[in-house]
């Protein structure tokens, strides 16, 4: 069975998992998608990612590869014949890596803060988030994609956050399109690719998921045990002084 040669352990709303799904789709790779019921992590997940215990994990011929950006590069290097995701020129490749790294370091945390903090702190977080998006927007500039004419690695790193924008815009009462029109234009351009449009869940579905999870956790009483990250799959929170595990 061809499908079982490639297995993806994932969680549907995860923007990190989506990156891998897009890469697999771009290459036309058949795979076995295994939805992980976080926080009840499967034995397979714990075995394949003992260090971080996180999704996504790609299992190829029985061997695990972890960390979404590393997985995307692995996919590109292993299935070389079709749809290159990395630029061929080393300098442009280094730039693509830099920007994917920037997204990893900045966007996730800023997005989270802008949606979950309150009052003055939220305003500050929103501003920071918009600033980060503006830097990214500036990098894209007038080009169709991050690195030029071809959709690739850096685009994949950022575009998966697009389906989460609606949630945080609604929570924070602002419009990202108003602040960064060129960025949204770029995102919509990416959405015209089947690999992206078929991977990204509907923004409203993401919003519903987030609101349901938040109501289960009782937003005002959440205390971080570790990085509050539903899609990173830790699933253990401190609620009213007790450790609880939340099912999604």
């Amino acid at each position: 069975m061809v499908g079982s040669e490639v297995i993806l352990l994932d969680f549907w709303p995860s923007m990190f998992g989506m990156r891998v799904r897009i890469a697999l789709a771009e290459k036309g790779i058949e795979y076995d998608y295994k939805e992980q019921d976080l926080p009840d992590k499967s034995t397979l997940l714990l075995e394949m990612n003992p260090v971080h215990k996180k999704i996504p994990v790609l299992i190829h011929k029985g061997k695990p590869i972890n960390e979404s950006c590393i997985i995307v590069q692995y996919i590109d290097e292993t299935w070389k014949d079709k749809s290159p995701l990395m630029p061929s020129d080393p300098y442009t490749r280094a730039q693509a890596r830099f920007w994917a790294d920037y997204v990893d370091k900045k966007v996730y945390d800023a997005l989270k803060k802008s949606g979950t903090l309150k009052g003055e702190q939220q305003e500050k977080a929103k501003k920071e988030f918009i600033e980060i998006l503006k830097v990214l927007e500036g990098q894209i500039g007038e080009k169709p994609y991050f690195m030029g004419e071809s959709f690739g690695y850096a685009d994949i790193a950022l575009v998966t956050f697009y389906c989460w924008f609606y949630t945080f815009e609604t929570l924070g009462n602002y419009s990202i399109e108003k602040e960064c029109p060129k960025l949204i234009a770029w995102a919509k351009r990416c959405m015209q690719r089947e690999s992206v449009s078929k991977t990204l869940p509907d923004s409203k579905k993401i919003y519903e998921f987030f609101m349901e999870m938040r109501s289960k956790l009782g937003h005002d009483h959440i205390q971080k045990v570790e990085d509050f990250s539903p899609f990173r799959g830790r699933g253990v929170f401190l609620k009213h002084g007790r450790l609880v595990r939340i099912r999604y």
């Binding site: 260090v51 590869i65 960390e67 997985i71 590069q73 692995y74 290097e77 280094a94 830099f98």
Partner: protein, 218 residues
């Protein structure tokens, strides 16, 4: 056409040192521009407006940023003495460990010293990360993360091999003891004694003085 390679650096930085080790391994000639980080040069700010940090490598006028991105770039352009494995799976594994060191180990270790070792939780967290590396070395059973020769992971862990020890000495706080982390201790000794590494490390005295000033007990 002669390659023009310039490195914007701070000789004390383990991140800068990663790049220097890679340059040294590959025998690449370069110009070192030492930066005063309290007073950054116009050139540095021009090449790295986003993060305003060193290291920055400029190759024939093109700037490359972020130490691990630079190391991979050097590996792509100068193929001799490879730093990353050729096999895609091994390459992915090397990148994973380098990222783990950058994202988890180093921040956890810094926290111990910047919090003056006063919080037990911080120390426990740092030791947990070190234990993961210890286990990996045990599993690999070789002299280095890269096997018989150093690779991306060893280079990424340079802080642990050299700077950590000096931080411990300056602050009189010992984390990596031979009894607790025998593999890491052995690996560190091997790493700092590599010719290509030794030549690039900043002098002990300078680092000790810097750390005593920044973190040391008064």
């Amino acid at each position: 056409m002669a390659d023009e390679v310039t490195l914007y650096a701070d000789g004390r930085s383990p991140f800068v040192c990663r790049v220097k080790i890679a340059l040294n391994m590959k025998g690449i000639k370069y110009k070192n521009m030492e930066e005063d980080l309290q007073n950054k040069s116009g050139a540095l700010l021009n090449y790295n407006p986003v993060h305003k940090k060193v290291p920055v490598l400029v190759h024939n006028g093109n700037p490359i940023l972020e130490s691990l991105v630079i190391v991979e770039y050097l590996d792509n352009v100068w193929e001799r003495v490879p730093i990353l494995p050729q096999d895609p799976y091994e390459k992915a594994a090397a990148r994973f460990w380098a990222k783990f060191i950058d994202d988890k180990c180093i921040p956890a270790l810094y926290k111990v010293f910047s919090s003056k070792g006063e919080e037990e939780q911080v120390i426990t967290e740092a030791c947990e990360q070190l234990q993961i590396l210890e286990d990996e070395l045990e599993l690999k059973g070789k002299k280095f993360f890269g096997g018989d020769n150093i690779n991306l992971v060893d280079i990424a862990a340079d802080f642990i091999a050299y700077w950590l020890q000096l931080l411990e000495e300056a602050t009189e706080m010992k984390l990596v003891t031979r009894s607790k982390f025998p593999k890491i201790t052995e690996w560190a000794e091997g790493f700092v004694n590599c010719q290509v590494v030794k030549e690039m490390l900043p002098p002990r005295a300078i680092m000790l003085a810097y750390y005593k000033n920044r973190f040391g007990k008064i």
